[in-house]
């Protein structure tokens, strides 16, 4: 985060003519930090699943956790998200999108899971068999 801020000032005069002084394209250091973190956060889940050293549930938690952290890493170091770019509107749009995505994903999975379990054809067959 600090790397993304420190590289902003030297180039700010450069982008003035584009009319968005708060935009930055990152620094070499920032990209390398992001890349390093991404490699680690990709290697860990792949290694865990391919070797299967941990129990399935623990592996699943770590895999999803690593993905969540890596998405944040990409947002900060590659997409240069911050609360100030474009007057804060990119962040507002992102938060709005995340809310919609969470509602849709959680809602779909929740409703369809219950639909599947409650309308399972085997449910009736076991009752008939019993």
């Amino acid at each position: 985060m600090s790397a993304a801020k420190s590289d902003h000032s030297p180039e700010s005069h450069d982008v003035d003519h584009l009319g968005h002084e708060s935009h930055n394209h990152g620094s070499f250091k920032g990209y390398m930090i992001g890349f390093g973190l991404s490699v680690i956060l990709t290697a860990i889940p792949f290694a865990l699943v391919m070797t299967g050293v941990l129990p399935t549930n623990a592996t699943a938690m770590i895999v999803m956790g690593a993905a969540a952290v890596q998405i944040v890493v990409h947002m900060i170091y590659f997409l240069h998200m911050n609360s100030k770019s474009e007057g804060g509107w990119t962040m507002m749009a992102l938060i709005f999108t995340i809310v919609i995505v969470v509602i849709c994903l959680a809602g779909s999975l929740w409703v369809m899971y219950h639909l599947n379990t409650n309308m399972m054809p085997t449910h009736d067959m076991t009752q008939m068999g019993g």
């Binding site: 394209h25 890349f35 997409l79 990119t90 919609i100 999975l109």
Partner: protein
């Protein structure tokens, strides 16, 4: 009746003070492009969220056909992930070269990015070809339909990203790093990194979680 009704309505309009701008605020050409493109990416994000939701719901319906464990080759997926991650960092280097106004370096890094993108597409098409060859076509089961739709949509985005990248390389070659071209390169930068973010979701939820199912 009608006169009394009109009278009170017209009064507030007369009293209201109206302000006009003496001069329209000046907006530089393309000053809102980045925000507009970000909003497009967010809407694209919603498309992928829906496809992820579909895969989440149908991902376990194999219709007595092959499942992830029989179909997926994680080493190939890891290689694919590496290609996309490398292309992300090389695009970052292209942006840094653009900031230094170095046309040649920008072009070289863009070309390398394009090659990594092509490698990614090649591996994905090889995987798809292999799956279809062994009979795991989109028609086989709901799992495979949703798999091909989700991963194929991402692959289609990468394809268009590469076409856009080649177009911009021609543009930069013809006109140099003019402000308009810089703006376009910044848009493609967001698009390219965004596709990498989507791929994190794909390899996590489709491939890795699929192997754990």
């Amino acid at each position: 009746m009608s006169a009394t009704a009109v009278q009170p309505a017209s009064n507030p309009i007369d009293d209201k003070t109206v302000f006009y701008l003496e001069e329209e605020p000046h907006h530089e050409e393309g000053s809102s492009t980045m925000l507009g493109f970000w909003l497009y990416l967010m809407s694209d994000c919603l498309i992928f969220a829906m496809l992820f939701a579909v895969f989440g719901v149908l991902g376990g319906n194999y219709a007595a056909g092959p499942g992830p464990k029989e179909l997926f080759d994680l080493e190939l997926v890891a290689l694919n992930t590496a290609m996309l991650l490398f292309s992300s960092i090389t695009y970052g280097f292209a942006m840094l070269a653009m900031d230094r106004n170095n046309v040649k370096q920008t072009q070289v890094w863009l070309a390398i990015t394009g090659l990594f993108g092509l490698a990614f597409l090649g591996i994905e098409l090889y995987e798809f070809g292999h799956l279809i060859h062994i009979g795991a076509t989109p028609q086989r089961s709901a799992f495979l339909s949703s798999f091909f739709t989700l991963v194929g949509t991402h692959g289609l985005h990468v394809t268009f990203g590469i076409i856009w990248l080649v177009t911009l390389m021609v543009q930069v070659g013809m006109k140099g790093l003019i402000p308009a071209n810089k703006r376009r390169l910044m848009c493609l930068s967001m698009f390219w990194h965004f596709l990498d973010v989507i791929w994190i979701g794909v390899f996590t939820f489709v491939y890795l979680m699929g192997m754990l199912r």
